[in-house]
Amino acid sequence: MKGTTLLAALAAFACTVSAAPAAYGHAFGQRYDLPLPLWLYTSGAGAVVALSFMITALILRRADKEPEGLRVDLLALPAFRWLGHSVVHAGIETLSLFLFGLILAACFLGAQGPFDNIAPTFVWVVWWVGLAFFSALVGNLWDLVNPWGILFGWFERLRRHQALPRPYPRWLGYWPAVLLFLCFVWMELISEAVETPRNLGLAIVAYSLTTWAGMALFGRQAWLRHGEVFTVVFGLLARFAALNGEDGRFWLRCPSIGLLVRKPVPLSYVVFVLLLLTSVTFDGILETPLWQSILEWISHSQVLRPGLLSLQQAGIDLLIAIKSIALVILPAIFLSAFLITCWLIGRFGGARLKLVELSGWFVLSLVPIAIAYHLSHYLSYLLIAGQNIIPLASDPFGVGWDLFATRTYRLDIGIVNAKMVWYVAVIAIVAGHVMAVYLAHVMALRVFPSTRKALVSQLPMMALMVGYTMVSLWILSQPIVA
């Protein structure tokens, strides 16, 4: 009797696996990307290896340059002075709060089909994917438009006698952001519940309360820096950007220079960066045939059968459970690979530094590769699924309005040419890799006493980066099966 239930349960599971559920790979929307052709994949890979060594040779010649010095304050130029005006800021803040209110209203009052309501498309495509692109390529817009920050700021001004917040505990570091980011990625990539506007609205309300509680406890700034996960994410991506607002100035600098640091970042930030890197890769991996064969192997494995069965009997969706486990295992693999590399860097460079310190010096140099992969992975998705916002802007609640006469707009899937996406993908990944290797070398020159030691210390880092870049290229060359 038990045997038959077991077989039935596993058969059902195997079916879900092989039928590849109609659920979308990413939280939301269809993708029509073509995998990279082999010739492009191999030439990209070749360029990566060749360029890695060329950078080393170049660095040797001009080791004493400080790249952070090359920057211009745009607010000092008459043409850009208006950017600093308080009216401009007030306008941006009002627009942001209006959109925040609109999305919440649409979640709870609008039609509940994911494509009939503006909220899912706005949140998952325009805000999450779009703002990530914007942060990395242009600058940190989120600091200006963050509705939680703005609202709490207003609330503080209204309240005359403020209770002084407690000091933010040092040991807590960026761990709140790490935890919240894990929850967010789980919702984005694994759970299908947040495609429904009402669930999305509930998630937003829950997150708002968490954020305001954190701000009330530790103060607005402290919580924004360590606990408001989107400030941390977009802030990290914006370190790459060429524009940077800082101390009332608005700098134009070389891209990726913001990822150089003058002191090591704390361990919690290292973990956060690696989690961000893996979450980008994770979405791609879930769409490869490799992932499908892992699932098939699991569903046929004799060893795992009893465990799977008891999970199923407990009413847990097996596919979601397995993905959730993978979401924790993959960052753990990345973290171990990175820590081993850092240990080797210390060995090769001969510096007496703790492993945590070394990882804090070098972790940010990996970010350009992640940004490049993110760009390649989401470019056509953003441009195609993002078009949904055009009809939805006219009818945000899905009740038949036609505010801007765009309600009947049909998606143009030919907006990006497949060949162009391929070239952009490969060029971005190669360029991201070059920047990563360069940044790591500059950091090594700051950490290690001699140029020679610094260069030798970068051999393991270069191996890690070539591996990471290859994985990114490889995923792009895999047929998408999810």
Partner: protein, 121 residues
């Protein structure tokens, strides 16, 4: 002399410009890619899981099935109903490159049937 030469070149260019598209469009009419796909219990053979065509092809897929299915070609947005005992024809112009799923819609069987890959020229 040289102006005569130039005139001839121009003439040849004009004639070529008219005739060549004519020829290629008549040839293009033969660029139809036909596939026949049998659906058994909501699934297709491994060799039919991905159908590859080139951008600009006309594509005709003839389906047969053992139970009624509602097929939806995403992206290109075509939908047909196929019933047992009758062949269903899904035809479209592959204008845009990409990887487009054909899904089974309706009742229980909701899932990917196969992919059409349109490769860029």
């Amino acid at each position: 002399m040289s102006s005569l030469l130039r005139r001839r070149t121009v003439l040849a260019g004009v004639v070529g410009g008219i005739i060549f598209p004519l020829i290629s469009s008549t040839l293009g009419a033969d660029d139809t890619r036909r596939f026949s796909v049998a659906i058994t219990a909501g699934k297709v053979d491994k060799k039919n899981r991905t159908l590859r065509v080139d951008q600009g092809d006309k594509v005709v897929i003839i389906f047969s099935t053992d139970r009624p299915v509602d097929l939806h070609l995403h992206g290109i947005d075509k939908q047909i109903l196929v019933v047992p005992g009758k062949l269903g024809e899904l035809s479209f112009d592959a204008e845009v490159a990409g990887r487009f799923p054909i899904e089974l819609h309706g009742s229980k069987a909701h899932g990917r049937l196969l992919y059409v890959e349109v490769l860029p020229r």
